[in-house]
């Protein structure tokens, strides 16, 4: 067995413990179950609301209301007498319905005499959560639809020469959106932003999760080697320093990716439950990536992962024990969160130069920006980013190898010693 493979095998065995996997699985299950609950929203919206209908009006406008509710809701109780109200309420409650609608006998006559026609609605709400409000929102939607129909009838009856629908909708917006030189007909910027939001949210979150999980592992792995006093043995056996470093980075990357996939399964399910199918998918507007683009995103992600883990390895060499390793993960976490938030809410091209430089300098930003940049043909940013991140990784790995050949790894950093001297002086 090659030293690298031997090292990798040991590291994976050390990292993949129930203690590492269980918290991730628990979080995944929690997010998954939240997602499952949220996922019912869409189902709920698509379901017809259940109502009771009491129609006392025999006029000409009441049928407009009743026909809409007959077609778009499930009427569990139907009557023509208000005296049945209590029975209606009870039936709706038993059927987990939303409302009891009472059309009084003066409904049509009021409208005919140019007064608003009253409709009494007795709402039955189960709770105060978002999902509990969905059935009543559906009934309100039907009410709005009914009002519009009556408005159209009234406009027609007033002998107006205009088309009633036109009077109610005098303006129609025909959108063409130009983003970074690309023209998208029949779609507004808001709709594009909504389509892109899922895509541009997932990659940054995945990247951040991998960096935090795998980075923490690398730092902890180095800290544990020191704390458990295994590092000295490792450094005196015939294995090249680069094999030790590569083994640790590769094992953390593999385990980190695995845990991130498990984690993202839960998060992904959760995120999916928050989006509704509007029928305007990314493919309808050519907002998809080609195989080559996806390959570039993959390379960018891999390069950033190696860069991140190398950086963590460098920080890990400074860790004295497991406790100090926890503190050292903070700067890496910040470096991962900062571009994640930035890329979710802004575009790299619209940033001021100073911020642009800062974002470019953080290796984790590149895979987060790659997907969006490739959608608009910005290959320079993506390929340039891959080259920069690769150079960054080589430099950092070089630094790690250098630290491994010096006394610093075992005796601590120069900064640490200066601090200790200062403390003693005080």
């Amino acid at each position: 067995m090659s030293p690298l493979l031997n090292m990798l095998k040991k590291e994976i065995k050390e990292l993949l413990t129930p203690g590492t996997i269980l918290p991730i699985i628990i979080v995944t299950l929690i997010f998954g179950s939240i997602g499952n609950t949220m996922g019912n929203i869409e189902q709920e919206i698509q379901q017809k609301p259940m109502i009771a209908l009491i129609n006392e009006d025999s006029g000409i406008y009441a049928p407009v209301i009743t026909s809409i509710f007959q077609n778009h809701s499930t009427i569990v109780f139907n009557s023509s007498s208000r005296s049945e109200k209590e029975n209606a309420i009870e039936t709706v409650k038993q059927n987990n319905g939303a409302a009891v609608l009472i059309i009084p006998e003066n409904f049509s006559s009021n409208i005919l005499s140019m007064k608003p026609g009253p409709i009494e609605v007795y709402w039955i709400v189960k709770g105060t959560g978002i999902m509990d409000a969905i059935p009543s929102a559906s009934v309100e939607g039907l009410m709005y639809h009914a009002q519009r129909q009556i408005s159209e009838i009234l406009i027609l009856q007033s002998n107006a020469s205009s088309n009633a629908t036109l009077v109610l909708n005098p303006v129609i917006e025909i959108d063409t959106t130009n983003i970074k030189g690309f023209e998208y007909p029949n779609i507004s910027p808001g709709a594009i932003a909504q389509i892109l939001s899922t895509q541009s949210t997932t990659t940054p979150i995945v990247m951040m999760m991998i960096i935090i999980i795998a980075g923490g592992m690398v730092i902890s792995s180095m800290a544990l080697e020191k704390e458990n006093k295994t590092l000295e043995t490792l450094l005196t056996i015939p294995v090249r320093r680069v094999s030790i470093i590569t083994g640790k980075i590769a094992a953390s990357a593999i385990v980190g990716l695995l845990l991130a996939v498990i984690y993202m399964f839960g998060i992904g399910y959760y995120m999916q439950s928050l989006t509704f199918d509007t029928g305007t998918g990314p493919t309808s507007f050519s907002l998809t990536l080609s195989t080559f683009d996806l390959l570039l995103v993959g390379i960018s992600l891999f390069a950033a992962l190696v860069a991140g883990l190398s950086l963590c390895m460098l920080l890990g060499t400074m860790a004295k024990n497991y406790k100090s390793a926890q503190t050292l993960t903070a700067p890496v976490t910040m470096l991962a969160i900062f571009p994640m938030i930035l890329t979710m809410f802004t575009d790299f091209d619209t940033l001021p130069l100073a911020l642009k430089t800062l974002v470019f300098a953080i290796p984790f930003s590149h895979p987060m920006m790659a997907q969006r940049a490739l959608l608009f043909g910005d290959y320079t940013l993506v390929i340039g980013g891959i080259i920069y991140v690769s150079i960054f990784s080589i430099v950092v790995i070089g630094l790690v190898i250098w630290v491994f050949t010096t006394d610093r790894l075992l005796t601590g950093t120069v900064v640490g010693k200066k601090l200790a001297r200062l403390k003693r002086k005080r």
Binding site: N6, T17, K229, T230, E232, T233, T236, I237, P238, T406
Partner: protein, 237 residues
């Protein structure tokens, strides 16, 4: 050719000079002991010979190979047992020995592991996780690890540190046997009686300097002492 040749060796940590120009040599198959109080420079010397730390000045050669210039070559010949060494807690004793053996040989790692298991003598517990071992069991495993590859030079820092009498005696026996089989041993210890029992030659080190060197028997005669502990006290005074 000497197994170890240390000449005017100095090791500094910043302004602190931990070892102040010591020289000694070790012959093949010899058990050589570095003894002295805490902070005398014993562990630093062993760590430098083991290629863990860098030399500030002077030269150290192991089998004629310069430690500073060819550390990778040295690592193939030596085995180092640090004083408070540990093993990977999530591995079993056997897995730990396998992990180390794989770095030394591609041909017969199983044979090497079996030797390690015999030296460690942990019985069925060899297949339990290291995390469940007592201090004594852990130390036996580490001694097994350090000697299973039949190194040309074994560097043992306080090999019986923290062990009970029975375990310590067994480990001393293993060290003697290993030396008889041709391995050169360089060890450090606080335990003067242990050093007297084990070592062919010793160096007394204090404050980074070797203050006296020789065979335990000769030193006792020279200082009219009953044991090495008395020699040490007389020399230090």
């Amino acid at each position: 050719m000497k197994t170890v040749e240390v000449t005017n060796f100095v090791k500094s940590y910043g302004k602190l000079e931990a070892v102040k120009g010591i020289s000694f040599s070790i012959d093949k198959g010899e058990i050589f002991g570095l003894i002295g109080p805490n902070g005398a420079g014993k562990t630093t010397t062993l760590r430098v010979i083991s290629t863990l730390l860098q030399i500030t000045s002077g030269t150290i050669q192991v089998f004629g190979i310069n430690v500073k210039q060819q550390p990778d070559q040295i690592r193939k010949l030596i085995s180092y047992l640090p004083e408070d060494a540990g093993a990977y807690k999530n591995l079993t004793g056997r897995q730990y020995l396998q992990f180390i053996a794989n770095f030394f040989t591609n041909d017969q790692p199983k044979q090497m592991v079996e030797k390690g298991i015999i030296i460690a003598d942990l019985g069925d517990r060899i297949d339990d996780k290291v995390d469940t071992y007592s201090k004594g069991m852990k130390r036996r495993l580490l001694v097994g690890r350090a000697l299973m590859n039949e190194p040309k030079l074994a560097i043992l820092d306080e090999p019986t540190s923290g062990l009970d009498v029975r375990n310590a005696q067994e480990i001393r026996g293993i060290i003697k046997e290993t030396a008889q089989n041709g391995t050169t041993i360089l060890l450090s210890s606080h335990n003067m009686l242990e050093v007297e029992y084990l070592c062919d030659r010793i160096s007394l080190i204090s404050d980074g300097r070797i203050i006296v060197e020789g065979r335990p028997k000769d030193l006792k005669q020279r200082y009219h002492a009953e044991n090495i502990e008395e020699v040490f006290m007389k020399v230090v005074q």
